[in-house]
């Protein structure tokens, strides 16, 4: 058994998740982390599982992709030991008129300040472009990043907010 990274993307229809999960279960592949959503109506799923050889999983998924409406890829990956976040969690919200390069410019600034993007969503609805990113920042980096984000937002003509992500311990 080894860790496999699988992506499935394509034309949405009911039953894709059940089909993919059924194939994996049939092979004895244990699905661990997964995420699935629809991106502008396209089915998009990424998952990690412990399973047999990638070729065997790919072959078992072939019936799902045979009609050319879905694309599935299977890759063996090294198990990641360091899953724990190393910084302080922050949220970046960006919204404004759509234009080329918003995600590139904003995430480059985060990277330049030593931050790591851990979760990211973008949406384009009508003329409004929205980016919400969860980032881990090194200690005491937030103020500088906030300044840099303000500069970038000005050049992009978008609004940006950086704030600490709160979590409740119950």
């Amino acid at each position: 058994m080894q860790e496999l990274a699988i992506t499935v993307i394509g034309h949405d229809r009911p039953g894709i998740v059940a089909d993919v999960a059924g194939v994996l279960a049939g092979l004895g592949a244990n699905l661990t982390d997964s995420t699935m959503t629809r991106l502008r109506g396209h089915f998009a799923m990424t998952l990690v599982c412990n399973g047999p050889q990638p070729a065997a999983v790919e072959a078992a998924l072939t019936p799902l992709t045979a009609d050319g409406k879905l694309l599935a890829t299977v890759r063996a990956v090294e198990p990641d030991a360091g899953g724990a976040p190393r910084g302080e969690p922050y949220l970046v919200s960006v919204h404004g008129a759509d234009r080329l390069g918003i995600v590139a410019a904003v995430t480059r600034v985060v990277e330049a300040e030593g931050g790591n993007v851990t979760d990211l969503t973008t949406r384009l609805t009508g003329p409004l472009y929205l980016l919400i990113a969860e980032v881990d920042l090194p200690p005491a980096a937030a103020d500088r990043l906030a300044d840099r984000l303000r500069e970038v937002a000005k050049t992009l003509d978008v609004e940006v907010t950086l704030r600490r992500a709160e979590s409740d311990l119950l």
């Binding site: 919200s93 008129a97 609805t125 009508g126 929205l130 990113a133 907010t161």
Partner: protein
Amino acid sequence: MTTPIDALAGWTPESLGEPGTVRAVVAAPDPVLSRAGSDVDPCDPEVIRLAADLIATMRVSPGCVGLAAPQVGVSAQVFCVDVTGHPKAVTVHGAFALCNATVVEASRWRPGREGCMSVPDLTGDVKRASRLVVEGQLPGSGVTVKFPADGFEARALQHEIDHCAGLLFLDRVAGAHAIYQRRTYL
């Protein structure tokens, strides 16, 4: 003598003395929504007209429980709220408008799903205080009122006060997966 809290309870949109005109609601990314509104004189006839227009526009908009001046394209510290009859509302102060409102006290933070007429295609999970004390001035009389609000009315007040500060709920969503495509329109 009228105490401030009685002034709010006794206030009705009719006291503005004009019916108000329905105005067009602007949507993001219109820059007016991202500008902090100016302080206003609650007795200025233009501000009184604006308050009446906000209430008139809120009333013709299905499901709308609050509307702020930036949403009708005016960068000013004026908004209206009316959560009467809303299933999530606890305490209800009826329909009212406020000028230059600020949050004095906030506690008991709770998550909740929010939408906005100016962001018509998205909703998001936002943490807001469910206990609030708000201070502001009533348009027309200019009387300062300071009153407690809770539950859904407190959420609506924070949403509108944010609008007057140039903030959308998009600036406060709880995480990268706390944004949803809006499917149902009232």
